[in-house]
Amino acid sequence: MSQIQLAKEERIGFKSPITMASIGVFVIIFFGVLGREGETVFEISRRADLIQLPSISIGSSSLGWVSGILLLLIAGYSLSSSLKNRKTPLWVSVLYGAIGVIALLGWLAAGNQVPLTFIIGTSLVLAVPIVLGAMGGLMCERVGVTNIAIEAQLLAGAFMAAVVSSITDNFFLGLISAMIGGALVSLVLAVFAIKYLAQQIIVGVVLNVLVIGITSFLFQQWLTQDAENVNFPGTLDIIKIPFLSDIPVIGPVIFENRITVFVALIFVPTLYFILFKTKLGLRARAVGEHPLAADTVGINVGRTRFWWVTMGGMSAGLGGAALTIGNAGAFGREMAGGFGFIALAVVILGRWHPISAALAALLFGFSIILRVWANQVSPGIPTDFIIMVPYVVTVIAVVAFVGQSRPPKALAIPYTKG
């Protein structure tokens, strides 16, 4: 019985090629055959850039045709890997996503310009809270603790960053206290989940209610009354790394940012390295997969979980700081606005892997800027549907690829020494 199940799990299905091919056909039909009139101009460089690259102009519907065919070709590649019982590699999925995004941009901006650098750069900035939140969630889930409270951690971090930076006039202290804020929420989760063996999903949901309540109350009662002194932090300075920031596209997108973006960019590969290449990460994963076995070889399950959950909270808290002092410049009521839940989806979409999760977070960041931008370029198109895209993609991914993405085995199960 168990062997049959095992065999079933190991067979790579045809879900990826089928999904990829159907999206490709969709692109050809709607963006190619039924595509819109007009040329789309992709602006590669910004006007202020040192090195100017020429813009690329292409007919909107022909771009639809070209990208649709490319998508089908990739689907074919994915089919051949599936036939060889191999997973579709990550870079193929990334390439696929990038082509899909360009097709969508080209369709939307028929007869208009696409400011490529601006869109990618803003996507990254908007994705940072989601990335850091997702890393926080991932760190908890890898050791077997479900963290639904990412929203609460983001809010706590955003609140602390805004208030402490305003009072002390020191962004460094603001960032530190944002991490403490996120960690405090995590501590409650950890204590309830590990010590009191409470249902982790329930504690997470309740923590969201509680932290939304606390921050909204303090915002209403305190921050709005005395906004100048306690909720007026401004934003972090934009750091321009010399020379590197002059590279076209990559320069302004990556090397000209606030510290929160740099932290996220460094943290994601670091976490990957720690999780998969060090003893520390191996222990953490062991606790998440098989706590009994980990306990047998002398790993303290409770303590490992406790520390990883707390550190995860610090990461999400920093993500909250990216919302206030890293972007908006002040705290607003319920300003995390569902980012925590998106981060949760991103963890699963990224198959509990830091790098794929960060890429998935970029997709959501992109969708946020897309909503704003698409309204300006082609007001006739119902933006409500564009906003839905990442959520629909998540549903498709969760439903179609769930056989390939397996959560840590001991997720959400409290461990008691028996």
Binding site: I148, F192, V209, G338, D384
Partner: protein
Amino acid sequence: MSESPDRFSQALKEILSGGFTRTVLSIILGFLVGALFMIGSDKAFIESLGYFFSRPGDALGAAFAVVTEGYGSLFRGSIFNGEAETFEKAIRPLTETLRLAAPLILAGLGIGLTFRVGMFNIGGTGQIISGMIWATFVATRLELPFIIHTVVAVIAGVLGAALLGALTGFLKARTGAHEVILTIMFNYIMFNFFNFLLKDPLLLGEEASTGNAKADPAAASAVLPKILGDNYNLHWGFILALAAVFAFWWLMERSTIGFRLRMVGENPDAARSAGVSVERVYILAMGLSAAFVGLAAANQSLASPLGLFPSAHANIGFDAITVALLGGSNAPGILLAGLLFGAFKAGAPSMQVFGVSPEVLGIVQGAIVLFIAAPPLIRMLFRLPPPQTTSVLSDIRQKLMRRGGAK
């Protein structure tokens, strides 16, 4: 037939270790936490802290004042307003509590049902929106006679929500995708879809469209009628909620379907061995759960005098989770929990008038449920006895019942 002291103390232990005592203590603690926040943010209290050691009475007085007046205005806004001129006006807050509790109870029953099956429906928001779409369509676009129109609209709301719920259950059963992620995503998808429908006058938008996302109010033949005349807003939604509480009780405690649902909740493997199709139960449970949420959707669609806005889901889907948790996922508990949180909603404006941000009620709500979620914590705080395995209480109850029946 005298009760021995031993049995008496055992019965006391059972009461103290039981869920009821824990719930009451959690509610008290929740209000205490809220009180601390009110005190901590009170200006008079903070000023009196400066000279606390010379005149501690000031600080204590200020603390006492803000708490009594804060919770006092909550009471006046949600149960009985002693300051009103007439009795009719004085009990108006209570009818508002009942009105606002109705959707919380209905959706709370839905969420509670999934807890009993060992699942977690976090998609109340999406399901309520789906139900509202269908109910609003029937209520604003069809012409039907009185009563029938209302009934059809309610059924439409239930179906609309139940289909989305069943789809979630189906996807979980077929692919193993986790319902928490699916429902969160459906929340966003439905919210944006609703927004789209409300903007278009050909779909659900106002016929005299102003470009805003908003629906027409339900046709006069479709609204839920008022119970106590035009002076009170209380409408049949509350009766619907009471009926649903009874239906939930019967479904879960008396019917075969309920037995199957609970069986899967207790132990899916055992249920499977006993011949229950666990996959079918997942679909059924999500569908039934969303059907109760759909009643809340009908309540929203058919009783809003201005017509629906995109925010008409009023966060009921999430509040319902706290209702179900506080109510212990059983029918009477959910009724009481819904009334408590309904009172919070009704009393919020009058707290605002008094100058305490009603957001403090969110803290109270969260704190209560957090304590509920961790029984060992409450036991440790109050040094309650551990869970008892004896059945002295139920023996006594049975004896009393038998005596009553013999008469």
